[in-house]
Amino acid sequence: MRTALALVILLAAAVGLQAVREQQAPLASPTTENLLYVRSPEFMTRAALSYDLLLADVYWIRAVQHFGQTKLSKTQGKQYDLLLPLLDLATSLDPRFNIAYRFGAIFLAEDYPGGAGRPDHAIALLQKGLEQQPGKWEFAQDIGFVHYWWRKDYSEAAEWFTRAGEMPGAPNWLPALAAVTLAQGGNRESSRRLWQELLNSADAEWITTQARLRLSQLDAMDQIDTLERVVGLYAQRAGSPPRTWLDLVRAGYLRGLPVDPERYEYQLNPTSGAVTLAERSPLNPLPSREQPRR
């Protein structure tokens, strides 16, 4: 049947062209402050008529897409500046869009270039969520988390953990965590606790991926501490620091070449005795061990 054949060929051509189009360089994005026409959530909630939830979903999908594309993009000076507005719109249209708040919490706060590098935005978004749902301890915990991990403001973090701990349904280790934070600041155990908690809550794949990354990084930091101690021990006993890992293996301090949780070999600096991650390890960059902010 000639017509059927023509139809099949044309459909294949159309699909093919769509695929080709996908491959071509995307259109230059206009300067972003002009791209999002509607920035006012107040306007949008009125204009959406009865489709608010649907529109919230659309904005959510665009937020994720914007984040993903910007993260993967190789352009200089790329910006995540649409992330907050899009999440703001999504959560204004659907105030109970919990996953949007949590996404914001993690990726707005995350240091540039992995994220927007704006913990203040993350906190603002979470506070908006708390206004809508005052009893949601997860948001309070997340605010505390942002203060803890990215702003290194341990007293603020402790206060928020306490507040979260007082909300209905909160887990019972939160007050204890607050106390530890207040006392010891950037304690690695507490950090591990928080990320483990996030991993367990497992709202979405990107949360678990991020949590796993952090936990691996914490493990790596522990391993580095141990390795540096071993190196120090060797240097004391042998009189000079080891030149390579083999020295330590031969001396019986190690059973084999040490690798990080992602299976990349640790690098030993023979002069300083410092141990670092391999350059290509995906665990780079490790969270900083700078002094806590007061």
Binding site: T3, A4, A6, L7, L10, L11, A13, A14, V15, L17, Q18, A19, V20, R21, E22, Q24, A25, L27, A28, P30, T31, N34, L35, V58, W60, I61, R62, V64, Q65, G68
Partner: protein, 268 residues
Amino acid sequence: MRAVGHIAVNVFKESVRDKVLYSIVAFAVMLIAVSYLLGQLTAGQDLKIIKDLGLASIATFGLLIAVFIGIGLVWKEVERRSIYGLLTKPIRRWEFILGKYAGLMLTLLVNVSVMTAAFYAVLAYQGWGVDALARQAWPAPPMDPALLAAIALIFVELMLVTAIALFFSTFSSPFLSAVLTLGLWVIGHFNADLRNFENVLESRAAAWLARGLYYVLPNFDAFDIKAQVVHGQHVAASYIGLSMLYGAVYMALVLTGAVAIFARRDFK
């Protein structure tokens, strides 16, 4: 082949004598003129507003014309029985379909040209007597030829919408055709979002379905370079060419479908 031309001319005659069409075009022209006034209110964004509103008007009113005439193209003839007189003349059924399509294309071309002329008139007026300093602030000149590229792509989009409306018109009533055509148009504009569904969907099967639909459904977003043109950003000729090629192939697909359905129909 001659027959296609005669039928097309007849469709054009019908639209020219249709008062509804005049109202639509008049309204569009009025809106474009009004955009000049709106521009005065926006302190510095006046050129942008005129360009945005002008392009949006051309696209929207063109869409209205394409859909509301397109859905009746075949249906009206069958319903009113005028098709009996026409099909018994020495024309083939596919010539009838193509003739109707070409006629509506001609109508759209004339209407879009009229709106474009009004648009450029307003732009020219806007650009008149503005000093050099203010000019520098504009990302693109008022009478930017790149606007024509945007309008050309809008026209390709309209051609595709018309083909779809005509396709539905060969077998369903106007109301249903309008709903289906507009529905496809809306989905086609959110096509890019379909692509990203797999990022947010839990089920693999659903994500594959979304991906599949993304490839098969008409992607109307491909014809939208309004934002780029208004901000004076360069759009590669290859992008425009590829989009036009895509439009042409998809149009051919839809028209072939329309011809296939129409060829088999009984006209009771």
